[in-house]
Amino acid sequence: MPTRTDGARTATRTDRSAPPLAAVGRGVQRSVHPVAWWVWALGVAVATTRSPGIVSSAILIVALVAVVALCHTPSAFSRAFPAYLALAAGVVVVRVVFYVLVGLKSGTDVLLPLPRIPLPDWAAGIALLGPVTASGLLAAVSAGLALAALLVCFGAATALTNPQRTLRSLPASLHLLGTSAVIAMTLAPQLVDSWRRVRTAQALRGRSLTGRKAVAATTLPVLQDALERSTTLAASMDSRGYARVHHGSSRLVLALLLAALIAAALGTYALLDGTGPRWLALPLLASGGAAAVIASIVASRRIATTRYRPDVWRWRETVISAIGVAIAALALAASTLEPGVSATSAASGIAGLSVTFTVCGILAVVPAAIGGQR
């Protein structure tokens, strides 16, 4: 025994002689602040809703895919990105199939002269099949692609940011919400695992159960498992000091939130209802927003938890989110910049090629150069 102890002691000393802080700087791979990626993705998403046609949507999708391919960190969420792409492709296909089956066919450039099948009276207004026209098909693909691009935006944002880290950058007042979301996200795959495990284990008993009995046979052990896990987790969190520096909820926060809610409701009413006093809308909405922000700050003060390795906002984050804002602004201004290009006229001609949206696409790829791991 004594010899062993001495060995361990010297080993620890040599380990400790390395300055710990130097190790932090070298070892940690700093990834881009998740909020920056979300701003960028939302900017592109705004552009996709204004896209004039197939080519523009395709350019945006290609830009998104390129950035994800170059900047993602390997995780379960980035591995799910191909699934988003498949889903997007599915959306386009479904849109086209619907067009062929029940779409309103107009125009003269017939590609496929299918017969129109009349439906009974109660379904008047819907025509089954009918001649498929090139312009109609292009419009269907274009609409599908715009929706697909929106999906890919969301997929790109989740692939580039670990949602668990995103939740950690919520303000402290939403700490409880963030914690429960993080736990739910950890428990969900475990629940799926235990469900699978129980299913295979049940087969070992030599029964092939069906119906209600089968549901009971799997659900019971899975729920029991989940309950045990939750108790263990609660014990672990409690013994590690969870909720120790929370000082309860405050009346002030409650009052402020209530005021914010009322102001928001009245403001929206004033804004949308033509008969209401329009001039009230803006001040009401603004004061409501201010009350919410103050409530959040006050609530954050009451929670004194600290954060290990918080995500920091530097020039990279500023550039990436600025690009997002620029893309959205360009897309919104597109109709003024290029009056000739719009979603309606595109179908017949060049299928939505637009200088503005090509610029948007190029801008969207820029983060690929700076958003990788440092």
Binding site: V24, I183, A216, T231, T306, R307
Partner: protein
Amino acid sequence: MISFDQVTFQYQDAAEAVLQDVSLAIPEGELCLVVGETGSGKSTLLQLINGLAPHLTGGRLAGNVTVGGLDTRTHPPRDLAEIVGFVGQDPISGFVTDRVDDELAYSMEQLGIAAPVMRQRVEEVIDLLALARIRHRPLSTLSAGEQQRVAIGAALTAQPRVLVLDEPTSALDPSAAEEVLAALLRLVHDVGVTVVLAEHRLERVIQYADSVVLLGGDGSARSGPPGELMATSPVAPPIIELGRLAGWEPLPLSLRDARRVAGPLRDRLAERVPVRPREAPQADAVPAAALPAAALRAALPAAALHAVDLNVRYGRVTAVNGIDLTLKRGEVTALMGRNGSGKSSLLWALQGSGPRSGGFVRVGDIDPSTLPPDEAIRHIVLVPQRPSDLLYLETVAAECRESDRVALAPPGTTSAILERLSPGLESTAHPRDLSEGQRLALVLAVQLAGAPAVVLLDEPTRGLDYGAKMRLRSVLTEHILGGASVLLSSHDVEFVARTANRVVVLSEGDIITDGPARDVLTASATFAPQVSRILRPVHFLTVDAVRDALGVTP
């Protein structure tokens, strides 16, 4: 550091108190081992130290528990976070975050410790527990031993003066267990942390203990130096049993001490048994009751199961790599190897429910994967690592009836097996309320009801005390006498030494060693049981074998 003053603790709805009038003190800087049979209140005692009992579990506490001067009655677990670190039985279900360094920092974040201090402490713990290589990895990708070390590290970053661990090595293979224990020892010796731990496998930890708390099972507790208490303890590792048999005084606790006093015993045994193992009669390697099996084997077709060129792959990972295996009737084969060496994959593939990527398996002349489940259980059964997954009915009796029905066995078959495995089990009890050992007994009884020719068990000894292991051993022995074959995977060297006739060692999906238990176990550095290590070069695996050789009746 920790003191219990006339503590009585009773769970709600429980008929009797788990702990009755317990008074003890654990001084600072000690490694204290809590010893007792299943259900004697080990976990409860540990939870009392940081206030999880009664603050989280509920129940009635009388008397006082104080830790570092604070009374747990007035201080809930979260207030004790910088005094007591708690590591539960199943580390992965206690993890809150998804990455190693985030998990290490979690406790400090909750305590509101400043970021620079936090970083410094994380680095220190990483060095102390050798976590540098895995610090950025997701927690779910770690091996069981690494997870256990991360769980210890996560408790340590709050810099507690006491560390409480519930069965820290129960799921680990021998070498991973050594790693975890080495880390704990380093904490005790270098950092001066007081460590309190409960463990079933005393053979792993008894030598490191400074003191022992022995729970009687009737609510009583005694504490004292390990040597003194182990002399009369109802639960004892082989080294202690051997010491008692040989009458060594004082009782040696470490292998080194035992070897130093074992000279005369070695000489006495060497006269009776030749030194070289291969020429030795097999008598002492084979469990005594299994001897007629040799005659049986000659009468029946020898092989119960054939597997040829069996492969299991998950994506690019090869779990089982072209294994040929034949299981003979009347034989208990133990499957050993590191965590993740492919033991479970092999068992599931043999049974037919698990994936197979190539090769074939025959039980008799049938491939079990082609049989419908209710017919397969009369040929080959598997008891998985979490036996409770198989249970879903309301009472033990209902489970037994269902099992008889499915296995087409005469009514009462399952409950008869169960009675032998776990005598006196309430038939009206809910399976969920049973202890780990009792649940295993129930599942084993259910699976054996169809009298299958091949029985596969995945880590059956997890969470079992010495008594439960003995009963499991006798039922398995009886079953192989009926002409069946048993294949069990286990990290429990002592259980394997007393139960198996043959040992197969797996590593990275390949069979590394395959031979009689006696030869394989005595030759291995990691898998040698304590008795073999003490008596080397005389070849004995178990205390029973030594007792027989000496002609002593217990």
